[in-house]
């Protein structure tokens, strides 16, 4: 996978169903019946996803947890990479 730019935006794949457990989220792709779990950090990223860049998401994580920006950015890149690989998010081609 090519490295993602920190200015890239993503959105949920249409139809993904979420079950929010408050400290984590379980995502279900109805087309494949595959399920994907997100921990507390992943839940923050998932909730903040629409319209935000990778850098924005990292800033969101620093607000939610006691963690520095660089560490947050590293976590967000990993989480977004996993979500992309699982097919539950896609790059958002629309500006803004």
């Amino acid at each position: 996978m090519s490295p993602m730019a920190d200015t890239t935006r993503f959105r949920a794949k249409p139809g993904i169903v979420e079950t929010d457990l408050e400290t984590e989220v379980v995502l279900l792709d109805p087309a494949t019946r595959e399920m994907f779990s997100l921990n507390a950090t992943g839940r923050v990223v998932w909730r903040a996803l629409p319209g935000r860049t990778v850098a924005d998401l990292a800033a969101e994580v620093t607000r939610a947890f006691d963690v520095g920006y660089d560490r947050a950015l590293e976590d967000v890149r990993r989480i977004v990479g996993e979500l992309l690989a699982a097919g539950v998010i896609v790059p958002d081609d629309h500006d803004g």
Partner: protein, 321 residues
């Protein structure tokens, strides 16, 4: 259940259901699979209509999205556009249209279709979708109740739900469902949706000899009607706990802790994924609520069953026979 002017009608958990021009065998299947008159559920404004038509409806389904639905032993490929789903071809098939106030199912070429099991599966899916659209959620689980405790045993087909249910009955629990119930998501009331417990003859002989000699089913299993198990009708109870069933040969039968994530995954497998997006949201809300119930994994190994501890906190004595 009534039949007037060729219209078969009965409520399905309060949802008015009417079937027109259905052949006798189909009418029998509808009654057997969907007519449970014992449940006192307030009448719903969501009506379900079924009609057997002479020919396929107009409006070809070219370019519609395809969606596979997995049912026991096969995969059904539906086509969809908006709130309409179809399966089959010009010669025989089914169309389901989901509306806000009701659902309509149209069948054509029903009696000419070759694969009877496939068309019954397709109709079952369509009727289930209609009920889902009315706000209910199916739950594939064995359910048993004792006092205020109501446990849903979740697990894949063949893992041991029926046998565990019979062990629970032997330990004084009341059976609610062997494999399927319909759930009212707002209250978690579970309505048992089967006619008895199906069990292999050797399992009956080994653990429940007093029940041996029950009515045999075409698949070789015996159907033990609920009245033989002391179950009163109607079989409805409000769920209070989940038990995630697993089978591990060569190990001891035991209870294990589970995470809410484990419960969510088991619950989605037990509810299935609806065709309609609105129903998916209803199911997701139900799964979320159910996942907050106390839950534990019950691992069926080679040692005798023990239902105590994580299920009820009591020292159940499981009796053979």
């Amino acid at each position: 259940m009534t039949v007037e002017d060729g219209v078969l009608s009965f409520p399905v958990l309060g949802r008015p259901f009417a079937a027109r021009r259905v052949p006798a065998r189909l009418a029998g299947w509808l009654r057997e699979s969907w007519d449970y008159p014992g449940y006192a559920v307030p009448t719903s404004g969501y009506a379900i209509e079924l009609e057997v038509a002479g020919a396929a409806p107009s409006g070809a389904a070219h370019g519609w999205a395809e969606l596979d639905v997995v049912v026991p032993g096969r995969t059904l490929r539906f086509r969809s556009e908006g709130s309409v789903w179809e399966i089959g071809d010009e010669a025989s098939g089914l169309r389901l249209e989901i509306g806000e106030r009701g659902a309509r199912i149209e069948l054509w070429g029903w009696e000419a279709a070759g694969d009877g099991a496939a068309r019954h599966h397709a109709l079952y899916v369509a009727l289930s979708e209609a009920l889902r659209a009315s706000g209910l959620v199916p739950l594939h689980a064995a359910v048993a109740a004792r006092g205020g405790d109501v446990v849903a045993w979740l697990g894949r087909s063949g893992v041991g739900k029926s046998t565990t249910l019979l062990h629970a009955v032997n330990a004084g629990w009341r059976p609610v469902a062997e494999d399927l119930c319909w759930l009212e998501p707002g209250t978690l009331a579970a309505y048992g949706w089967d006619r008895g417990v199906r069990c292999w003859p050797e399992t009956l002989r080994r653990f429940f000899p007093r029940l041996d000699g029950a009515q045999p089913a075409p698949d070789g299993k015996h159907l033990i009607a609920y009245d033989r198990l002391g179950a009163s009708s109607p079989r409805v109870a409000t769920l209070t706990r989940l038990a995630l069933l697993d089978r591990v040969a060569g190990s001891a039968t035991r209870w294990e802790a589970v995470t809410p994530r484990d419960s969510v995954k088991a619950l989605w497998e037990a509810t299935g994924v609806p065709l309609a997006s609105h129903s998916r949201q209803v199911t997701a809300a139900a799964v979320e609520r159910l996942s907050r119930l106390p839950a534990a994994r019950y691992v069926l190994g080679d040692t005798p069953p023990h239902l105590a501890g994580a299920i009820a906190g009591e020292d159940d004595q499981v009796r053979g026979g």
